[in-house]
């Protein structure tokens, strides 16, 4: 089974204080730690597990800067076979649509049975690259996938719906699946493993290599433009509890009791 996995390098903003750049179009990246997008990590693990079952090859593809080599190498250490870094100044400012076009440019020439993406990315949260890429490739897709079973050239996939519902689909391959977190337990990737993966090939491709022109990518090739990025204003109704840990938890327990959450 030939599998392509699309991955993205994103900043870890769960704990860091996020600030906005002067032009209000982006966040300041200084001092932030970067990592593979959480959903993409599950997608790589899923690909590796499918490869362990059915054999074949895994190609990981990422659009980004030279630093994205870090996450590609990590995916290679997890069990992927080769990497493609799509890197070109012309790609700067690309929205989900333009990114999908860039990925399509690289993937259209690869023989594949399955394309996996994360269901969404932790930074912009658009969740559009997967479905758009599937349309460009002319293949069916499913999003928020929580289970994949392959049988006779078909995939049975489970999708997570709202309110605890699940949907079971049968889809003919080749297809694209947007992977939801929790589909598996991603393995640990050791530093020695990453070092050993340096032997595996990472191909770098630019605008010309994928047969696109400058006005098809970047801002010019995008359908959405960021007007302004801002920190949400503080809303009404929130009570900030002051004090040390003991005082704060005592007050919190009090409130939860008042509201009937705790008996």
């Amino acid at each position: 089974m030939e599998i392509v996995v699309c991955i993205k390098r994103v900043p870890d903003t769960a704990e860091a204080e996020v600030t906005i750049t002067e032009d209000k179009k982006d966040i300041k990246k200084e001092g932030l730690a970067f990592e593979i997008n959480e959903w993409d990590n599950y997608a790589v693990e899923e690909a590796v597990q499918l490869k362990e079952k059915f054999g074949g090859n895994i190609t990981v593809v990422s659009v980004g800067s030279a630093e994205s080599n870090d996450i590609i190498r990590r995916a290679l250490a997890m069990g992927a076979d080769r990497g493609i870094l799509l890197r070109d100044e012309a790609f700067d400012g690309s929205d989900s649509y333009a990114i999908a076009k860039i990925l399509h440019g690289a993937i259209k020439d690869i023989k594949f049975d399955l394309v996996l993406t994360g269901a969404q990315a932790g930074d912009d949260g658009c969740a559009q690259v997967g479905p758009t890429l599937a349309e460009l490739l002319g293949i069916p897709h499913a999003t928020l996938v929580t289970n994949i079973e392959i049988e006779d050239g078909k995939a049975k996939v489970r999708r997570e719906l709202e309110g605890g519902l699940e949907e079971l689909l049968e889809i003919e391959l080749p297809a694209l699946f947007g992977i939801q977190t929790g589909i598996n337990e991603p393995r640990y990737v050791s530093i020695m493993g990453i070092r050993k993966a340096r032997k595996k090939e990472i191909v770098e491709m630019g605008l010309k290599d994928i047969g696109l022109t400058g006005d098809e990518v970047g801002l010019a090739g995008s359908k959405t433009i960021i007007e302004e990025l801002f920190i949400p204003p503080v809303g009404e109704g929130a009570e900030i509890i002051e004090g040390d840990a003991a005082e704060v938890s005592a007050r919190l327990a009090e409130i939860l009791k008042e509201k009937g959450v705790l008996a």
Binding site: D12, E15, A16, E17, G31, A33, E35, M78, E185, R187, Y188, V189, S190, I191, M192, G193, I194, R195, D244, A245
Partner: protein, 377 residues
């Protein structure tokens, strides 16, 4: 199972083992866990190490080092356990999720607590004194290596602040590495992540070299242990108890207040057993006016591990039964101690938890030696 072409028995030189069982007899957790150092060594000799993947209890070990210290044949069962964990780490499977998260956080943020690097100096923000920062161009005689837990844990931050007070009162010329300070790797190595440990050693030696570090004082015995024994370092490293004990002896640090309490002392394994620093902490406690010092029956080399080492701060053990820290708290209460003093962030956290779970909050307190000193000066 082989490591780089060598069998476990060859790599760890296990053939001398005559199965006396002193390792298991002294083990801090073998009474309540399936972890059995003697059996592990035997299985390694018999090449039954494929079983490693079924041994969830490998993560129960606290790396207190008792097995290795008591072995009459100079075999190191604790190193065998690290090696076995290393096999799991390199395979990437059968590793507790919380251990994986701690390791990933060290790689990403330079600390195992999942906290942002930029918040590493948070502990010092409310202080009314300015601390010299080596990355900002300040020069200082001594590097105070704060450590991850004192930098981030709200309870342990008090210890770092107490340390600053002691330094300042004694007129010590010290500085910190601010947000450039990185995990020391002591626990990382013991979780079996050898590659990450090597990377930290390399990065840290470069940082210490950049700021021309000649002398370092650490808050934690864990950081102290690895800098002293596992880095090929050309700087002098001391645990703070060694440093403070000298300051008190030279009367650079004198006490003005009394603490009229009966105090006992928990020997941190990485300070006591593994580095034989037994006297300095006791000297400091006894120097505080008003203190009545009593020792545990099991003290010094025979001290009972709190179960906070070897990665255990990030994973619950498999076995059932009372926690060692709870046993420690009960023993301390029974012998009439009002305070258990210790000199390790992990001991403090495990013992303080145990005071709560045993319901002895009204009877006994757990304090770090720094807290006692900074209160009494």
């Amino acid at each position: 199972m082989e490591i780089a072409g060598e069998s476990f028995a060859e790599k760890f030189d296990l053939f001398g083992c005559f199965q006396c069982g002193k390792c298991t007899g002294g083990c801090a957790v073998s009474l309540k866990s399936q972890l059995n150092p003697r059996r592990l060594v035997r299985e390694a000799i018999l090449k039954e190490t494929e079983l490693i993947f079924e041994k969830e209890y490998l993560w129960d070990c606290t790396l207190c080092g008792t097995c290795t210290l008591r072995c009459p044949r100079e075999i190191k069962p604790s190193e065998v356990i690290i090696g076995m964990r290393g096999v799991l780490i390199e395979e990437g499977r059968n590793i507790p999720k919380t251990i994986m998260e701690a390791l990933e956080s060290v790689f990403k943020n330079g600390n195992p607590w999942g906290r942002a690097r930029m918040k590493r100096t948070e502990w010092s923000e409310d202080l009314d004194v300015k601390i010299k920062s080596l990355p900002d161009g300040d020069e200082a005689e001594i590097l105070y290596y704060v450590g991850c837990t004192p930098a981030y844990d709200p309870r342990i931050q008090e210890i770092a602040r107490g340390m600053v007070k002691c330094f300042n009162v004694a007129g010590v010329d010290f500085g910190i590495l601010g947000t450039e300070e990185n995990c020391c790797g002591n626990e990382v190595r013991r979780m079996g992540e050898e590659g990450l440990f090597e990377m930290l050693v390399e990065d840290n030696l470069e940082i210490f070299g950049n700021y021309n570090v000649k002398k370092m004082v650490t808050t934690s015995p864990h950081c102290f242990n690895t800098f002293k024994n596992e880095y090929d370092a050309d700087f002098e490293v001391q645990h703070y108890t060694q440093f403070l004990s000298k300051l008190i002896e030279e009367e650079k640090l004198t006490f003005s207040k009394e603490i009229e309490k009966t105090i006992t002392y928990q020997d941190p394994c990485f300070l006591g057993k593994q580095n034989e620093i037994f006297d300095e902490p006791r000297k400091i406690i006894e120097a505080i006016p008003g203190v009545k010092f009593i020792d545990f029956d099991r003290s010094r080399k025979r001290s009972l591990c709190c179960e906070g080492g070897g990665g255990r701060m990030w994973v619950e053990a498999t076995g059932e039964g009372e926690r060692n820290a709870e046993i420690r708290v009960r023993d301390a209460v029974e012998m009439g101690a009002e305070i258990i003093a210790t000199a390790c962030p992990f001991c403090l956290l495990t013992l303080e938890d145990a005071v709560k779970t045993t319901g002895y909050e009204d009877k006994i307190q757990v304090r770090d030696i720094i807290e006692l000193v900074s209160e009494a000066i």
